[in-house]
């Protein structure tokens, strides 16, 4: 009964978006605004309808209604309530419905908020948004119906995949979905601008903050995903270049390139075609990413959401590609902007170079991810493209990007003088060099790590100096250092939020270099009372306790004392968990975290574990906490840049702009 109601809501929403697509075009063609408004209302009703459907699914999950197939697949009576709620996105059908909810939220909110601002674009904003919704709602309505009944009603459900029962996993998927669905907004406005031929910068101004918000969530999803892998997957790392990780990283690369190149258009009205291409590319890569995650076309550790939706995704992806390219070609003439560079050494060319490097990383990652498919098609042999490939190919490109990150903010629009830039980088380059020589003297011999550390130090100093220059100018006017700092950021949040993000990336890079080049590991079998040493750490093993946990768990927990320099620094309890019903094992590491490194121990669950003996895998991960700290700084920077203006700020900004316009010679 409740399931029927939920399914009816989905069908109704599906019908509404089909109507909206037709009515919006008809209204635009006949120039009859009543049809367009009707289409708007049809789109607006999808959000409450899907919200209702999601609410009903959650109700079914909470009440253990095993007459619904989805409920039996992702929940069991023993699961705690909060996990039952998050089981909404714990499987294919439910997560698609949840995806639809977020998609409807974004498209409706952007449409209603910008309704009067961008009126002429609206019919096509509705059309493009509806087409996307038709596809995703169609999947839920006809292919992956979360309300489908069980053929046989079982007494107990299968329970949520244990890997998904982690706090990081509860927030990681919604963040990624928010990021993915969010990028639909700039796409709808860009396409509407193409179709209507209103190709001024209106669509960019309108979607700027929406793009930044989508990007924020995607970044957050990626960072949380890394943290989840580190805490739960038990292999001592946080990024494995797995196809599904790549699937969300690739759209992020395109989106990041867009956030940079859009500034050229805003400042100099150039590269309009390129910006639209990047927005279209980001959207298509989002669809592609979803396709990779959900189709199981490319095998992955994330294959918990596989099904037969692959061909449909592929079809939709093709249609949208052809559609987008068709309109781009048709408006090619109108878009051609008088692109002109005054100098190779300018902010414009720095941004373009940035885009070039991002595209290089994007291509290499995309190519590596898809290569197993291509090789199977051509040679009939499936092969593996693992982390070593990506590290080697993208490593130098990332290094180039970090270097550019330091130097590019020194360039100016139109042209910069090589001499002035040379003067500005001289001292930071030298200080970075002295640092690296010092590290060399301390025994670091890996030249790639040294080069990386030089670049990170160099760019970090330059970025800090960017802040310092502004602060000093303000302090000369009598502001206190703190006021100067906060006013500086507040006055130009996009610019300084951006630099703040750069600082976060550089801190992350520092951590990545440390943990990539200097990770130590060892595996050893210990008897009670024995100990093992790795790096500066010694670990004594005091036996294993075994006890049942909640939710049909069998837990084996080791008791370890960790010493450093002869002093006990931690007591760790790595454990293995076995979900006895499904037989799925989990490995939870014991970790001692400090600023300089993590001592990370897992109990190897494929070797026999008795009360007196177990096999351990020990890792020392240097600087790894800098990755998380950098991620935190990164997110703060994005929030600074994306935070909505208060009304007061808007007014002062507007009055400043008016004054500037008035004083500027015509």
């Amino acid at each position: 009964m409740i399931a029927d109601l939920g399914y009816a809501a989905v069908l109704f929403a599906f019908a509404a978006v089909i109507y909206a697509a037709i009515a919006s075009v008809y209204g635009a063609r006949k120039d009859d605004w009543r049809w367009v408004e009707s289409a708007r209302n049809a789109v607006a009703i999808t959000f409450p309808l899907i919200l209702l459907a999601c609410g009903l699914i959650i109700y079914l999950l909470l009440t253990n209604d095993f007459s619904v197939l989805y409920v039996t697949r992702v929940t069991s009576t023993e699961m705690p309530a909060y996990l039952k709620v998050t089981a909404l996105w714990g499987g294919q059908a439910g997560s698609l419905l949840f995806w639809n909810l977020l998609l409807a939220a974004f498209t409706t909110a952007a449409m209603l908020r910008k309704w009067s601002d961008q009126r002429p674009l609206m019919p096509y904003v509705i059309l493009i948004g509806s087409i996307t919704q038709i596809f995703f709602l169609g999947l839920v309505a006809f292919v992956e119906n979360p309300f489908a009944p069980s053929l046989v009603i079982p007494p107990e459900g299968q329970g949520l995949n244990p890997l998904l029962r982690h706090p990081g996993m509860i927030i990681h998927p919604p963040m990624l979905y928010l990021g993915f669905t969010g990028f639909t907004v700039p796409y709808t406005f860009a396409m509407a601008a193409l179709i209507t031929g209103k190709l001024d910068d209106g669509w960019i101004r309108t979607t700027r903050r929406w793009t930044l918000v989508a990007w924020l969530f995607l970044s957050l999803g990626l960072i949380l995903g890394g943290r989840w892998a580190y805490d739960v997957l038990g292999w001592g790392g946080y990024w494995a270049w797995d196809p599904v990780e790549n699937a969300s990283f690739i759209p992020w690369l395109a989106g990041t390139a867009f956030l940079h190149s859009v500034m050229i258009q805003e400042k100099r009205s150039m590269f309009k075609v390129w910006n639209i291409i990047l927005v279209v590319l980001t959207y298509l890569l989002v669809i592609y990413g979803t396709f990779i995650v959900r189709s199981g076309v490319i095998s992955s550790v994330h294959s918990f959401a596989q099904s037969a939706v692959g061909p449909l995704f592929f079809g939709f992806l093709s249609i949208m590609t052809v559609f987008s390219v068709y309109w781009l070609m048709r408006r090619r003439e109108q878009l051609s902007s008088p692109n002109e560079l005054q100098s190779f050494l300018s902010r414009e060319s720095a941004f373009l170079l940035n885009n070039f490097v991002f595209m290089g990383i994007l291509f290499a990652t995309f190519w590596g991810t898809n290569y197993p498919l291509i090789s199977e098609l051509v040679t009939g042999e499936k092969i593996t493209v693992g982390p070593p490939f990506y590290n080697k190919v993208t490593g130098p490109l990332f290094a180039a990007l970090l270097l550019l990150m330091g130097v590019a903010p020194l360039t100016m629009w139109y042209r910069s003088s090589a001499r002035r830039i040379g003067m500005a980088v001289r001292w930071p380059a030298l200080v970075a060099l002295v640092t690296v020589v010092g590290l060399f003297a301390l025994g670091i011999r890996n030249w790639a790590a040294l080069l990386g550390l030089w670049i990170v130090t160099f760019s970090f100093i330059l970025t800090v100096l960017e802040f310092w220059k502004g602060i000093r100018a303000r302090m000369k006017r009598g502001e206190s250092p703190w006021a100067a700092f906060s006013n500086l950021i507040g006055r130009d949040r996009r610019r300084y939020g951006g630099y703040w993000i750069h600082l976060g990336v550089l801190v992350m890079a520092f951590g990545i270099i440390g943990s990539y080049f200097y990770q130590q590991e060892t595996q050893i079998r210990l008897q009670r009372g024995e100990s093992a040493t790795l790096g500066a750490y010694t670990m004594a093993f005091n036996g294993v306790r075994q006890f049942p946990g909640p939710d049909d768990l069998l837990i084996k927990e080791a008791d370890l004392n960790v010493f450093k320099d002869g002093r006990q620094v931690a007591e760790l309890n790595p454990r293995t968990e076995l979900y006895t019903r499904t037989g799925q094992p989990m490995t939870i590491p014991g970790v001692r975290s400090t600023v300089s490194d993590d001592f990370y121990v897992i109990m190897v669950n494929w070797e026999t574990v008795t009360a007196d003996a177990a096999t351990f895998r020990l890792y020392v991960n240097p600087l790894i906490n800098w990755v998380w700290a950098g991620g935190f700084i990164f997110i703060i920077g994005t929030l600074i840049a994306a935070w909505p203006d208060t009304v007061e700020q808007k007014v002062t900004a507007a009055s400043r702009a008016r004054r500037r316009a008035a004083t500027q010679p015509a």
């Binding site: 292999w235 992955s300 550790v301 070039f356 190519w367 693992g386 130098p396 490109l397």
Partner: protein, 178 residues
Amino acid sequence: MNHTFRRFATGISLLFLLLAIFLLATVPAAAQEPVSDDEVNEIARNLYCPTCENTPLDACPTQACQDWRDEIRVQLSEGRTRQEIEQYFVERHGARVLAQPRFEGFDMLVWILPILAVVVGGFIFWRYLRDLRAPGSEADERLGDDTAMMAQGSAQKPPPAPDEDDYISRIEKEVREE
């Protein structure tokens, strides 16, 4: 033209050098003597069994992977090298067991194409930038200095170049406005 081309060529060679060195960076040391878990893992880390896709052998709990690790241990104790052991698995299960495709046959493409894309893309990108440059900016570019630029005369002077000092003065103006 000649000058810029030389610069471009230097850039490309540097890029190649960088890539080449990166490719050589991770040559592992061969293991010998009594076989420890670490020695097994050293080889297992870069192998993938065909059933547990995308999970490296050293982190995979399945029985199949356990058998593979035992096989590696036996072969190591017989004094086989890393290459021989990898070859053993490749012959039985195909090239997919390797963490990265070998640089041979069709699979060369996986390595070459990204590098080619960056190089050819870089060339096209550079040509594009060159064509974008406004007439008359060549001279300034060569001298790369705004004092020299002024010395060249202001016949085709581009839009005023905003200065770093300009930027600081803008901040100062903002402060005054408050």
